[in-house]
């Protein structure tokens, strides 16, 4: 196990800034995921930790030791690549043994190590095969095996599941989680798939355009995203955003757009009044529950209905915005219907319309 520290790390290629001012700690045994869209700098960060790239500013430390000028092989890291990077002319056994031969381990020790890893990953029967004779899932296991045989202090994984089909990806996700629980080794995982990040990670670091946006547990990131970008990126459907203006009347303070209105607690209202301007209310689809009743918060026309089996997604037209909500699977709603929706006020996020930063979650008053 190893601890990783990135101190104000930056990387530039000429005039182009790939990564800037990244400060991040990965604790011993932690599973940290670098999450973000393509080109946000997450794989670059992984390569900087691995030593495949050197930062142009700041420093990388592993177990408190500065890594400037330290070769990848001396960092006690192992890496699993998106395309697995298995040597195509070598059998699975040769692929697994190759790093061990480089450190001149005896043939019997190599055999024992490979037997152990192969058994743990259920690839014993595949040892004599060439990579081209393996399925995607099997290749992925072999790539993991090649990382495991070296007993590294840190596992670095660069989108290792992205080449698998959806069903296999879910299965391998659980297997990775099990592996981490078993090994308790520090893992840094790169993905653009928020579901992978949410299910696997102890903590998630969200990056955008080479800048760290937020680091936190999956729950923190989901419930208290620091800005609209994080809020929109996390969650399988992203977050609904409604640009609202502040209105005050004798009954209270509201954020309003068309038929939508969100009552703002007094503590939050005071700050919003001081700040002025427009605000964006963020609501997760599960916090917009379609249905009729006394506590309906808004009424709107249905534009699209998506039946998912376990539930139904309803797209509502609210002013110039489409709001996605959820309804029980058995609810029969058709496009064009006028329906009511209940808003989970306590779960709403309020963002600054000017810069997208989080101003408050509805109930916390922060």
């Amino acid at each position: 196990m190893a601890q990783i520290e990135l101190r104000n790390v930056g990387l530039r290629y000429g005039e182009q800034t790939v990564l800037s001012g990244l400060t991040l700690n990965v604790e011993e045994g932690e599973f940290l995921t670098l999450l973000g869209p393509s080109g946000c700098g997450k794989s670059t960060t992984l390569n900087l930790i691995a030593g495949l790239l050197e930062p142009t500013s700041g420093e990388v430390l592993i177990d408190g030791r500065p890594m400037a000028g330290v070769a990848p092989r001396d960092r006690r890291v192992a890496m699993v690549f998106q395309d697995y990077a298995l040597y195509p002319h070598m059998t699975v056994y040769e692929n697994l043994s190759f790093p061990l031969r480089a450190i001149k381990l005896s043939e019997s020790a190599i055999r024992d190590k490979i037997a152990g890893v192969a058994q743990a990953l259920a690839i014993t029967a595949l040892l004599e095969r060439l990579p081209k004779a393996l399925s995607g899932g099997q290749r992925q296991r072999v790539a993991l095996g090649r990382a495991l045989v070296r007993d590294p202090g840190v596992f670095l994984m660069d989108e290792p599941l992205s080449n698998l089909d959806a069903r296999l990806r879910v299965a391998m996700r659980a297997e990775l989680k099990r592996l981490h629980q078993q090994l308790c080794t520090t893992m840094v995982y790169v993905t653009h798939d928020q579901a992978e990040a949410m299910t696997l990670s102890d903590r998630i670091a969200v990056l955008r355009d080479g800048v760290l946006q937020q680091v936190g547990t999956p729950r923190e990131i989901y419930q208290r995203p620091v800005n609209q970008f994080v809020a929109g990126f996390i969650g399988s459907l992203g977050m609904n955003f409604l640009t609202c203006h502040l209105e005050q009347d004798p009954t209270g303070t509201f954020l309003r757009q068309d038929t939508f209105a969100l009552r703002v607690p007094a503590s939050v209202a005071q700050r919003l009044v001081q700040q002025g301007g427009d605000f964006v209310v963020g609501l997760r689809p599960e916090h917009v529950v379609i249905g009729e009743g006394v506590d309906v918060d808004l009424r709107a026309n249905v534009e699209v209905v998506e039946y998912l089996g376990s539930e139904t997604l309803i797209h509502l037209r609210v002013g110039d915005t489409v709001l996605v909500g959820k309804a029980p699977a058995e609810t029969l709603i058709v496009p064009g219907q006028h329906v009511g929706a209940c808003i989970a006020h306590a779960s709403a996020c309020i963002f600054d319309a000017a810069n997208g930063g989080l101003l408050a979650t509805d109930t916390d008053g922060t």
Partner: protein, 287 residues
């Protein structure tokens, strides 16, 4: 049901190509085989002599030496061309400055005709006015006349040929190197594989099919080479560079021994056929 029609159009379309191959390849080959088992007087075909031309050739020490000289020339040329071609490809695969200019300068000898290349080398190595000899004399070293020295002439011929042909393996191997996935090298770096092991166990095996293609194509071309040795050494001195291809040219177009020349051509054809079979096998292994 309509009766199935024989589609003539495809055959019609490939007919010109078939005619061309027959006229320029199949007919000359069959005619050479025919000539090789007949006597010849100037350009006329004489009596059928069976394998007499072959027997005469194979019992002539000069012919056997020609084949031996060809083997030495081909082995030396191909070996060095691959070695230098691979080295240059490895160099040009790195981010070196002036890479494009460097690459272009290596390609120039390849597009120069064999005759021009031979003339340039003759001038360079001329013992009386060549810059190499002058340079050596200026350095106080003895006069060098490699083209008159039987032990050196073959080396000169090989070097000139390597200079001319090195661009071919370089271009193919550079393309092959650029086709090796970068992640294999990154994985090797992270796994702590030293450079020598990476080269031996990753680069070379990944280049193997291309190396085989280079070896076979260069061998074919070098076995059949005429213009370069004809102009550079003329087979001399003392038959030191009398390659089989050169002998074939001389038998046919200097001595007008068409029957013997045809038999020699058939023997060379067999050598080429074996090499082509190896080439096709290497291509199959690749796919």
């Amino acid at each position: 049901m309509r009766a199935a029609r024989i589609p003539f159009t495809p055959y019609l379309l490939i007919l010109p190509a078939i005619v061309l191959v027959f006229v320029v390849a199949l007919y000359p080959m069959a005619y050479a085989l025919h000539l090789s088992v007949h006597t010849s007087e100037l350009m006329t075909t004489g009596a059928f002599v069976g394998l007499a031309n072959y027997r005469a050739l194979l019992s002539d020490p000069g012919t056997l030496w020609s084949f031996a000289a060809s083997v030495i020339f081909v082995a030396g040329s191909v070996g060095l061309a691959i070695l230098f071609g691979l080295s240059l490809a490895l160099l040009l695969n790195e981010k070196v400055r002036f890479r494009t200019a460097f690459r272009a300068s290596i390609l120039v000898p390849w597009i120069v005709s064999q005759v021009v290349a031979a003339m340039v080398w003759r001038w360079l190595l001329n013992a009386d006015y060549g810059p190499v000899a002058s340079g050596l004399l200026n350095l106080g070293l003895p006069r060098l006349d490699p083209l008159s020295e039987p032990r050196l002439a073959m080396w000169v011929l090989i070097l000139a040929n390597v200079w001319r042909s090195v661009a071919f393996p370089m271009v193919l191997l550079l393309a092959a190197l650029q086709g090796i996935p970068e992640n294999l090298y990154r994985a090797a770096r992270v796994d702590g594989i030293p450079w020598s092991m990476t080269f031996r166990h990753i680069t070379l095996p990944m280049l193997r099919p291309t190396l085989l293609v280079c070896v076979v194509i260069l061998s074919l071309s070098d076995f059949n080479i005429v213009a370069l040795p004809l102009v550079l050494t003329g087979g001399g001195p003392l038959d030191a560079t009398d390659l089989a291809s050169l002998r074939l040219y001389r038998e046919a177009f200097s001595d007008y021994q068409i029957g013997t020349a045809s038999a020699l051509a058939i023997l060379l054809f067999l050598v080429n056929a074996v090499l082509t079979a190896a080439y096709l096998r290497s291509m199959r292994a690749r796919t």
